[in-house]
Amino acid sequence: VTGRAGIEALNVYGGVACIPVAALFAGRGLDPGRFGNLLMRRRSVGLPFEDPVTNAVNAAKPLVDRLDAEARDAIELVVTSTESGVDYSKSISSYVHEHLGLGRRCRLVEVKQACYSATAALQLAVAYVASGISPGARVLLIATDVALVDAAAEYAEPATGTGAVAMLVGDNPKVLAVDLGAFGTHSFETMDSSRPTPEADVVDVDRSLLAYLECLQQSFLDYRSRVEDADFTAATFDYRAMHTPFPGMVRAGHRKLMRELAGASAEEIEEDYERRVAPSLAYPGDVGNLFSGSLYLALSSVVDRVRPAAPARVGLFSYGSGCSSEFFSGVVDGDSTAVLAEMCIEERLAARRELTFEEYERLLPETNRCLVPERHRRLEAGRWHEVAAGVPRPGPLLALRAVEDYHRRYEWI
């Protein structure tokens, strides 16, 4: 394959509200000695008028608004990847397509495989674009989710975020030119975490960490079997972006592979981590785990932190419980820096309203029922909208207004 394909544009929606992780530790009485393991500063918090549809639209709108009519009509496929479905049959992408005002000559679909699904969709989209069967085609891929955690989640509560990452995939990949054919995969059935009902996240932390570490190693070894001379060190990858359930997990995975595959000393590992891995953790440490969007939040963090001026190769690792994983790579450069800077991701995350622990607790009974099917529901007009009103943003925000005969109704605020 000689074509180019990858991510043309990318935007993050990390909500309009957040809570300092220290406040959550204090409020829940969690052991402050474990604060350092998480490497989290703040996490995004959803509001009652937000759901996976609004998160997706609010992430994608700034991307779509920048396209001219012709470029918008080239979007032939809208994919949402999520573990926060709102209906067993109807996709989130059908709502997203409507509220973004996209053309009717378009495929709509939703995909699921925990935090891995966006990568599966990205690889299929890249292959579709690179195949040349529809020249100039674009795919709008949106990883969108909501947090369903409370005190029972213990140390996962401060690490779980909410929001979405929207990506335009096409043949002019200014943000990330995917290395076509350079990938490695590793998947097997296991019950490490799941969402068996619309209100329950079930996680076995120990099994999940071990599965993540095994998948990182095995998917990289599979990558190496396809890419001659590939090396886990800086010789092959200038930077690394990985699925980030919490930044401490990425640090541990990096340490393990550098020790086992590169034979690096503790000092070398630490220096290498600061240079090649830490840039990917700035946004995840400020937003929390964005589920299948997490890897792409980490990628945006690399670009915004490093601000590359020349081509640099990023090694990407995607993991989704259950489990499926992939190690792949791509190239970022000065265009990535310029295109991502237009989205002002850092400024918008900084502008989120910080909630107190009391406000956060008041929200939970309502926001944790976000995915529970209801035939009729009307949200009290304007409630919690003042939080959004106080936060500067590029345009109007989509908000849930009501559910009528299971049909979700939205408004712009």
Binding site: D192, D204, V205, R207, L210, L213, M249, R251, A252
Partner: protein
């Protein structure tokens, strides 16, 4: 491989990953969590013990909150 040898391997890994733990606190009925190990420490201890014993236990076999006795019996099953 007997229980005592596997227990000794677990104990070595615990003391290497969390050297501040009181060695006498590492007992059959304690969990790694009881010993103050965070999730990353626990994964490191399990990984190091498997390397030490030259065994591979499928990840599906592990679960949160296992005491050292059940960890030892799991490692024995795959040794």
């Amino acid at each position: 491989v007997d229980d005592e040898r596997v227990f000794a391997a677990v104990r070595r890994s615990v003391l290497e990953v969390v050297p501040e733990v009181d060695p006498s606190a590492i007992a059959w009925d304690r969990t790694l969590d009881d010993l103050g190990c965070n999730s990353i420490d626990r994964a490191d201890i399990v990984t190091m013990t498997m390397a030490d014993l030259a065994i591979t236990v499928p990840v599906q076999e592990f679960r949160q909150g296992q005491d050292i006795r059940s960890l030892v019996s799991l490692f024995r099953r795959y040794s």
